[in-house]
């Protein structure tokens, strides 16, 4: 663990974003994770994405459960809201928070244990409800905090550090999300920020539940020979299926001269996501091709990465619930709680 805090000095060319913040303003406390943990790289990618999107920290809420991954919300945006929930219950807490205040940007950080083991049901229902949030799974295939037992995302045949072989079939969060009707499904790698940052930005701009499965190696318990979630394994088996470019609203859009086929998706806030599929016939707007392709990759032992599926026309939780557009926190008290007379008349309807 690092004994000093990060010096407050920055590179002389460090710039400010549109709301006058430097990247350092999006940093949080010093990481207490193991040196070399993939999660710290995800944190760095998040900081980069927030800074580039000019996200006001006080308009964001960092949500997490329990686990190494869930600690990482402490390491970015120290001036935002946050909730560190019971193990695996982050999706429900976020659903509640979002129901009460739909104006905040919700950033859920979870891990494979938190989301695919103890919180599996919670995740599934947050996807179904299409809660408007960014949901990052920092996926390393092991329980790092309890010294490296296999988690639900460990591949069949992968070896623990002690040499045990996993025999149970894994849960693939990408296939799960595609099955449950998620409208934004991506996979990336903590060691590839050029890919991860635009996906995070697209996910933050997405209207609805944006699931990003980030393979984030556990350097202490799952970075050995025989692991399917190590740095070296990912570098050999990662296949980028879709290249993502995020074009924010205010940047002048100049479509580059290219003969390649681009899928341009206009986001809810007016920004654009441009997707370039590298696999022939791949269509990031088709749930079926995405599912088939990802599964085909799994069979070949490849890890398909990129923004694999996007549907910007979906309805999020508030649309389906037809809730009031004003956040509950901002409603006048007599509107939020109209009193016993109104309750009585409501009850009358059910007699």
């Amino acid at each position: 663990m690092t004994s000093i805090s990060k010096p407050p000095v920055r590179h002389p060319s460090a710039q400010k974003n549109q709301i006058g913040l430097t990247k350092a303003d999006y940093e949080g406390g010093m990481s207490t994770l193991c040196a070399g943990c993939g999660h710290d790289s995800v944190t760095a990618a998040l900081i980069q994405a927030f800074w580039e999107l000019d996200l006001p920290p006080h308009r964001a809420a960092k949500m997490s459960g329990i686990g190494c991954s869930s600690k990482t919300t402490a390491y970015f945006m120290k001036q935002s809201h946050g909730f560190n929930s019971v193990h695996g219950r982050m999706p429900s807490v976020t659903t509640g928070a979002n129901a009460a205040n739909r104006d905040l940007t919700y950033i859920g950080i979870s891990g494979d244990g938190d989301s695919l083991n103890i919180g599996f049901g919670q995740l599934a229902h947050a996807i179904r409800r299409n809660v408007n949030m960014l949901y990052v799974i920092e996926n390393n295939g092991v329980y790092g905090l309890t010294k490296g037992q296999f988690s639900a995302s460990a591949d069949v045949g992968s070896k623990s550090r002690k040499g045990e072989v996993n025999e149970q079939t894994p849960i693939d969060p990408v296939l799960l999300a595609l099955t449950l009707g998620a409208t934004f499904v991506a996979r990336s790698f903590s060691g590839d920020k050029t890919q991860l940052v635009p996906i995070l930005k697209a996910g933050l701009s997405h209207h609805g539940f944006a699931l990003i499965d980030v393979i984030s190696p556990c350097v202490s318990f799952n970075d050995h020979e025989g692991s399917a979630k190590s740095y070296a394994y990912m570098r050999r088996h990662e296949v980028e299926v879709v290249e993502t470019d995020f074009v924010p609203l205010r940047r002048e859009i100049k479509v580059p001269e290219t003969h390649e086929e681009l899928t341009v998706v206009r986001m809810h806030d007016g920004s654009e996501v441009r997707l370039h599929a590298t696999a022939p016939g791949y269509n990031p707007r088709s749930r079926d091709t995405a599912y088939r392709h990802v599964q085909a990759c799994v069979r070949k032992g490849e890890v398909a990465t990129g923004l694999l599926f996007i549907d910007e026309s979906g309805r999020e939780m508030h649309d389906m619930q037809r809730t009031v557009t004003t956040p509950l926190a901002q409603l006048p008290y007599d509107v939020l709680c109209p009193g016993s007379a109104v309750l009585d008349s409501l009850m009358e309807r059910y007699r």
Binding site: S3, K6, A35, G38, D40, S41, G191, R235
Partner: protein
């Protein structure tokens, strides 16, 4: 792109900006750390190995290290290196038994040194311990040369000069005081094995314009300062003009204030940005009420009935053309009233005592032809150093000349080629103590530079030898030491260990690190880093291909804080913080570094 060759000591040496900038390559960060630990004796001795006169230089050095200091690139002001050096000198105990000693058995070689200034004394310092019989000829009755005669005692007390010169002379140099050398031929006939000329540049330049010789109130700065030193001059008229804006001019104007002048003006041809004086000396002069008059070129002295009443100047306006060349136009003339003028417009070396038929060749302006590396003149066995070699420079340069000349003299007297110089080496030692623990203070101290306390003005002007700067207290010194970024604790990278996890890149506060695909050129690479590497005076470290992706680890040295966080966060110890110790070559062979202390 070829990987950086870090086995060449020059790479890491250059990272230590202060040590690189210092002509004598003093190990600044290490001696600062020793001061911070209260180990003043050790600090003083480490300092002395390369710069020989820590007490003197701690007060008078021109500080080439400070503008180079990395702290100055990330903070408003550099570390107060020079003043800290003085702290070690002021607070040290008795270190005499730890100084080098001359052996009882001499080596039979006799050498003569002309002048007892810093360059000659350095030669003596390096050669006496090797058994040389050293004789020093000095025209004055005390050692120190310019340091004693030209630098006023309110900046450099005589006691400090006495002590540090005695450390060298006490090893057994034969001192011939009050003995100006008047003939090189005669000196050569004495049969010395080698002769070193370190007689300085004692000849102040004159200004031959109308009126110069019509009055006795016009002085040449160096001679005037010497006159004050020897007590021949005890007062000066109330209104004094100083012509020139180098450090000698600063000494002259400040000395004038102490000898009764009430209205002192320093006059310069150019604007302040072009002044040669060290900024702090200029500040000190202004603090003492000295006026500065810029863009004035002297044309004549106004002398009425043998009495100096003023000086006429042309007022200049400077313009710069596209190539940056400056030119002036006269926009008027003005007469500035005054009672005395001191000329401080430069100095020349003067060796009229070297006969022309000795094989010692001279170039233009009576400058001897001296080899830049070996310091040997065109006559084998005759060496030059200090201001006598290439004109006026700082004391620390004279010291370095002395070291290099001593090497040459030793080689010459051993019958070896002068080019057979001792190599420069280095050691790198890991400073890792454990998880997140390093044997140096890696935490960043945001304090501003410590202010130097000055003696109050009334007391200063009461006596010419009251020292103005009072020095730092141990507490101030310890705090100031913490501002040092420990640039000698190097970030050492082993590419075979790197797993490309990005941890170092993510943590680096100043965005120094990048893992990048191979680029065509360094210029291209500099544009495509985590932060653009715009300071091309600072090196890029480029690793070999990394094992997983064949990409390269690149570090821009420019604003690295040496905080060690990259190494702290590295899971495989591919980054390590290693203390770099430069092993300089001296006459006595490779100098033992700080390790043995």
């Amino acid at each position: 792109m070829a990987p950086t060759n870090v086995s060449d000591p020059r790479y890491f040496h250059k990272v230590v900006d202060c040590q690189w900038a210092c002509p004598a390559h003093t190990n600044v960060p290490q001696y600062l750390r020793l001061i911070g630990q209260g180990r003043y004796d050790d600090s003083y001795l480490l300092n002395r190995e390369s710069n020989v006169f820590p007490g003197i230089l701690g007060r008078t050095c021109d500080r080439p290290c400070e503008p180079a200091c990395r702290r100055g690139r990330i903070d408003e002001k550099p570390v107060a290196i020079c003043r800290l050096k003085r702290v070690a000198a002021d607070l040290r105990g008795d270190i005499t038994d730890r100084l080098p000693k001359a052996p009882a058995q001499k080596n039979g070689k006799r050498i003569a040194l002309v002048g007892a200034g810093p360059s000659s004394l350095t030669v003596a310092n390096d050669l006496l311990p090797l058994g040389y019989d050293v004789t020093i000829y000095e025209k004055h009755n005390q050692p120190g040369g310019l340091m004693r005669v030209s630098i006023p005692s309110f900046r450099l007390p005589a006691s400090v000069i006495d002590e540090e010169c005695q450390y060298i002379i006490g090893m057994g140099a034969t001192m011939k005081y009050n003995t100006p050398v008047t003939s090189m031929k005669a000196l050569l006939n004495e049969g010395y094995d080698a002769i070193f000329v370190g007689s300085g540049a004692p000849h102040g330049k004159d200004l031959d314009i109308p009126g110069r010789h019509d009055t006795s109130s016009i002085h040449v700065g160096l001679d005037w300062l010497a006159g004050v030193h020897f007590g021949h001059i005890e007062h000066i008229e109330p209104r004094v003009l100083i012509i020139g804006v180098g450090n000698t001019a600063m000494d002259c104007c400040r000395t004038s204030r102490r000898l009764g002048a009430t209205d002192v003006t320093v006059v310069a041809r150019r604007s302040r940005a072009h002044f040669k004086a060290s900024p702090w000396e200029l500040d000190d002069a202004i603090e003492e009420g000295v006026h500065i008059l810029e863009n004035h070129a002297p044309t004549r002295f106004v002398v009425e009935n043998g009495v100096l009443t003023g000086m006429e100047f042309e007022r200049l306006q400077w313009t710069e053309d596209k190539s940056g060349r400056q030119s002036s136009t006269v926009v008027g003339t003005v007469i500035v009233p005054c009672d005395a003028v001191i000329l401080a417009i430069g100095q020349d070396n003067a060796v009229p005592w070297i006969e022309s038929d000795l094989g010692i060749e001279f170039a233009a302006r009576h400058m001897p032809i001296v080899d830049k590396v070996t310091h040997q003149s065109s006559r084998p066995g005759v060496f030059f150093g200090g201001d006598a070699a290439w004109g006026p420079q700082n004391i620390i340069w004279a010291v370095e000349h002395g070291h290099q000349a001593a090497i040459s003299i030793h080689l010459h007297c051993s019958g070896r080629a002068l080019t057979d110089r001792p190599p420069t080496g280095m050691t790198l030692t890991s400073t890792k103590l454990g998880m997140g623990a390093w044997e140096y203070s890696n935490d960043y101290n945001p304090s501003p530079r410590a202010k130097m306390q000055h003696e109050e003005l009334v007391k200063r002007f009461s006596d010419v030898s009251i020292e103005v700067e009072l020095g730092y207290t141990p507490e101030q010194a310890a705090r100031e030491v913490e501002r040092c970024l420990n640039c000698d604790v190097q970030t050492k990278f082993t590419d075979a260990l790197c797993i490309e996890c990005d941890a170092c890149i993510d943590i680096c506060p100043t965005s120094c690190l990048t893992i990048t695909p191979v680029r065509e050129s360094e210029a291209d690479l500099r544009r495509h880093l985590s932060a653009p590497a715009l300071n091309t005076k600072q090196e890029l470290f480029v690793s070999g291909p990394l094992t997983q992706t064949s990409r390269l680890m690149v570090k821009d040295e420019d604003v690295c804080l040496h905080c060690g966080l990259c190494a702290d966060r590295c899971p495989t110890a591919a980054w390590d913080m290693q203390r770099f110790d430069l092993k300089l070559g001296y006459a006595g062979g490779l100098l033992a570094g700080a390790e043995q202390r």
